[in-house]
Symmetry: C2
Subunit: 420 residues, 2 copies
């Protein structure tokens, strides 16, 4: 008898996490003798804890296929990290209770490091409670900070967005710098790892092109060196384009974005790293500036997604199900890079034990000696990840994104579980 599957999206959404969902659901539908219905958690794992499940079998093949070009989390995601087994064993027991009630034998958890940790624990606790589950992680994070996998779905599209936006803004500023803005700052995500900021560097193809400066979270902000570099760039090229990670830190370890801006009531104000950097340039060097903060636009920008990224996101969802069907457990499919140029990749596997709670930082040799740019090694790594366009369909001048029916699965337990 086939068992049902549970699928949930976790943490910050991306422009391709739904492509992974499509990979999971479409592949599961190919194995009706092994996998019954795929139930999705409404708003992620919270949907499991509260028995708020979505019956994906109610969605047409066309709707599921449309997930491949729809950003965000189609079933809802959540920022909710399950505690350790000792701290809140009740949560894990609740999950198993729900899974048992709905005859769920497969657990597919689509998220970053925390989520892989959760998958791992669910696998362990299921066994301990006499209800063994097949638990497979599906990698996702725009931060690209998961270990073992060569890269993470979600990252390539953010990288492409940031590289494209940096190039476009650089062209803009260059053409105006004679009499107007001389310094442009683009703030991008990546609180701990500088992968996204590094991607801005791909916009530069020739000497003089922007970006002229990248500020990485891995490199402590050196104000005098930074200002010198800005001045040099304006002197030599007439303008300066800066990509700054939201996570850039001062020598004391605090975020640059916490640099003492206060609102009218005297409250500390997280003005954004771009705001701080731009103000600094103005006050110290006197240059007219502009700044942009990409924020969610970068991770939701399905309109300019990387084709490589979309394909990998789908393939990893697909592989997760194939692994489950093959009887594997407590693993995560991973991207294995076979060659850089031509870029070739294949699906490998990583043990959840090895993935959980490990952050992959930008390697030292990916950052130039002065700390303000990316090396050729970094370009070689990043380049294939932004290759190819995969435009969504348009209707009325706007991308046509799918909204699923998200029909609820009838509750079987109907007991309350308080989320802490």
């Amino acid at each position: 008898m086939p068992k049902n599957a549970f699928y949930a999206q976790s943490g910050g959404v991306t422009s391709v996490i739904n492509a992974s969902a499509a990979g999971v659901i479409e592949t599961a539908r190919k194995y009706p003798d092994i996998i019954g219905n795929v139930y999705a958690g409404r708003n992620g794992i919270i949907g499991a804890l509260t028995e708020d499940l979505i019956d994906t079998s109610q969605e047409s093949a066309e709707s599921i296929a449309a997930l491949k070009h729809t950003p965000s989390g189609a079933f809802g995601s959540c920022r909710y990290k399950l505690k350790g087994l000792e701290e809140n064993r009740a949560e894990y027991e609740r999950l198993i209770e729900i899974f048992k009630a709905h005859d769920i034998g497969y657990f597919f958890y689509n998220g970053g490091g925390d989520s892989q940790d959760t998958s791992n624990k669910v696998s362990q606790i299921g066994k301990a409670l006499g209800y063994p589950m097949t638990c497979i992680g599906v990698p996702k994070t725009i931060d690209n900070d998961l270990p073992i996998t060569d890269n993470c779905p979600g990252f390539g599209s953010v990288a492409k967005y940031v590289a494209v936006s940096t190039r476009e803004a650089a062209y803009d500023v260059e053409s105006m710098c004679k009499t107007s803005t001389k310094v442009f700052v683009l703030e991008v995500m990546g609180r701990h790892a500088g992968w996204i900021a590094a991607a801005g560097g791909l916009a530069k193809e020739a000497e003089g092109d922007g970006p002229h400066i990248i500020l990485f979270p891995e490199i402590t902000f050196d104000q005098p060196a930074f200002l010198k570099k800005v001045q040099e760039s304006v002197d030599n090229h007439g303008f300066c384009v800066i990509v700054v990670s939201e996570g850039v830190k001062k020598p004391d370890g605090s975020f640059l974005a916490e640099s003492g801006l206060k609102d009218a009531f005297g409250h500390a104000q997280l003005g954004g790293a771009a705001t701080i950097v731009a103000q600094l340039v103005k006050s110290e060097l006197g240059f007219k500036y502009h700044y942009a903060i990409a924020d969610y636009l970068q991770r939701a920008a399905r309109h300019i997604a990387s084709k490589t990224d979309v394909e990998q996101a789908y393939a990893l969802g697909q592989a997760a199900v194939e692994f489950a069907v093959a009887g594997k457990n407590a693993i995560m499919p991973a991207v294995v890079r076979v060659s850089d140029n031509p870029y070739k990749w294949k699906i490998g596997e990583a043990k959840l034990d090895d993935v959980a709670n490990v952050e992959k930082m930008l390697p030292k040799n990916y950052i130039t000696k002065d700390g303000f740019g990316i090396t050729d090694a970094c370009r070689t790594y990043l380049q294939p990840l932004i290759e190819g366009e995969d435009y969504p369909p348009y209707r009325n001048g706007l991308p046509y994104y799918i909204r699923l029916k998200n029909a609820p699965v009838k509750k079987k337990l109907n007991t309350e579980f308080k989320i802490k």
Copy 2:
């Protein structure tokens, strides 16, 4: 004997101003008996005043064609408004001197209201100085605030960018709002007119879709009404997406963006309207927020340009030359809307006298009664302007934008002229 032509880009650049340049240059090349070389001003009108001209005849047909998909100002633009004739007659006389020296008989000025005013004055002064020039304006402004023309090239693409970004961010926030960000704010350009902010409204197709609130520069910020609306949106839909114009004003007439943020040194800080609005939501309602500031990204985003916009930008450049060849003077080609649905338009003409220094605001009946949304009349107007995609070619995962040779024209006067 053919006379040469002068072409210059003025003011803030757009993602399609180069398409107008292509229209001017390609069309001029079709009339070698009437128009000689097209000389472009390096960095706009400053290039004329300083005899820094670019010889566009050095550019291949392929390069000029590539301008159609290249954002920014390929010859450089400037923020430099010529004074009135009485205040600085010397500037106008200098222009005529340069044009005479280079046998320039046609003046094509690609810009907004100020530029149309300049074209008009050049036409008058040329006549007065016994060197009659054919002066034709080419409309351009993302702000869409020129009169007579139904819309301005540059606006449609910004509108599309803002509508697409709003939709994508709205999907993102909606899928996370259960446990994370509930309010998202996108700041867009448009210091005086709310056309760009209004375009964000196109992202909404059904009740509950974002944006839930648009803050227009035409509507004085009403804090209690705004907060009430945010609360309602979160209560009813779980989240709230806000598009705010950088030009939103407080009841005292000052910009919201000047609302008392101070940096570490106590200096007033223009934090951006989005920052202020987001902070307000947090401090008054307690909702977790995120905000994005699109800034130059919106006007440089050729990757998501509107096909309608690109076509009109080109056609207006083309028409400017056709008008000149037909012996017309002191006019600007304009877009005339023939019908809304199906959208049909044609080229008309506007007298520079009627265009110069007039700002077209968002009509009252384009804004909903509560001041926070757009009406059907507004949608009907905006919809066709974002229709169609016109993707640039890609190379290495990035848009391939052209950089011209921009070879200088040999100076004939070589006299110095001090820009004030």
